[in-house]
Symmetry: C2
């Protein structure tokens, strides 16, 4: 009730995004060697597991061992420990955001929306341990709030729009507001298990459905 409410708030810090030119071209002329790619993947996979089971303070050596690579390899891929944490975070964001498209393809709009919001709830819940690290001021984390928003907001907007066009939910809900609200719910709700959070999220969804037919049908 006191620690995590800041989590989603952290994600909402209004950073100016200069966005001048970051990644100029995808492949200038370099190919990624296959073993390097394998190492990076194994590392992210192992780090995700270790962070979730032993916390973000787990030693780098433990992650290297779990990934089956040497310590040197860890530091070539992620020069700082915090880069590894940021890497795991980004990968998780990617996975969660990607699920939105998949759910859209497999379910009717409202059901896809419902499932994704619960998926997002689980994402937040597993990232509780990261909240502390996120506040360390480490520059490796500086771009994370933007990354979070840049991926989740469009994903949810698409889901909302589809459900709205199907006449299932109202059209006047801001995707980002909803992300933050659920983020706060999910992050704070550790006290009595995930069941409580699930119920609260369902309640929010019912709120979205209420009045779907009576307003916002303009779009």
């Amino acid at each position: 009730m006191f620690l995590i409410c800041e989590w989603a708030n952290c994600m909402s810090q209004t950073k100016e995004t200069p966005r001048t030119e970051d990644a100029p071209a995808k492949e200038p002329k370099k190919r990624v060697r296959a073993d390097a790619q394998r190492s990076t993947d194994a590392l992210l996979e192992a780090a995700k597991f270790v962070f979730e089971s032993s916390g973000v303070d787990a030693p780098v050596r433990e992650i290297a061992e779990k990934a089956g690579v040497g310590i040197g390899t860890v530091y070539r891929n992620f020069p700082k420990r915090s880069d590894l944490i940021a890497g795991v975070f980004r990968r998780e964001v990617d996975a969660c955001a990607a699920d939105a498209a998949e759910l859209t393809a497999q379910h009717l709009p409202l059901e896809a929306l419902r499932r994704w919001l619960h998926r997002y709830t689980r994402f937040i819940a597993t990232k509780k341990g990261l909240a502390k690290a996120l506040h360390s001021g480490d520059p490796a984390f500086a771009s994370l709030p933007d990354y979070f928003r840049a991926n989740f907001e469009p994903a949810l907007e698409t889901l909302l729009a589809a459900s709205h066009e199907a006449g299932e939910v109202r059209g006047d809900v801001d995707a980002y507001d909803l992300l933050r609200a659920i983020g706060n719910l999910a992050a704070a709700g550790g006290d009595d298990g995930p069941a409580h959070t699930e119920r609260m999220v369902d309640l929010l969804i019912d709120g979205l459905r209420f009045g779907a037919a009576t307003r916002g049908q303009s779009a």
Copy 2:
């Protein structure tokens, strides 16, 4: 705007206080040796300085050196690094709470109240760096929220009551509410210097004065 709001909230976590029997007697039969007392004081003094200048992550050795004692002495007085941090925190709370009585003796009620609230504001501001540590889950910090409240709430209550009896402020303000409100103000207001916080606190004080004559004169 996003990190510290949790600070005072942390302090408000509703911990059950069994309070069965903690400190059974002040002095069972042991006297504290003079050199030991000197070491403890020097350590707390040095730690306060180092934490404020170098952050709470400063190495223990640095504090020991500043205090002019050996590392062994640090660890005899404060078995864990976190105990030192907690010790500094408690001492600061004591000092701030004690100032309430002193200000009461030296000033008229309303002025004493005003000065102490600004004193408290400074306390919060210098404890920003501790917010992160406070969330580490370390058991050494578990009792801090209670300590915070147990010292500050009565202090402010006394100040408020005196001002109210003098007819200067209303009588329907909860001391703890006020502590939290100012805590949030002071902790969040780092962006544009302390001046902004000072003004906001003065505004709150004016709020207390408003209507002093028209209501709550029952007490």
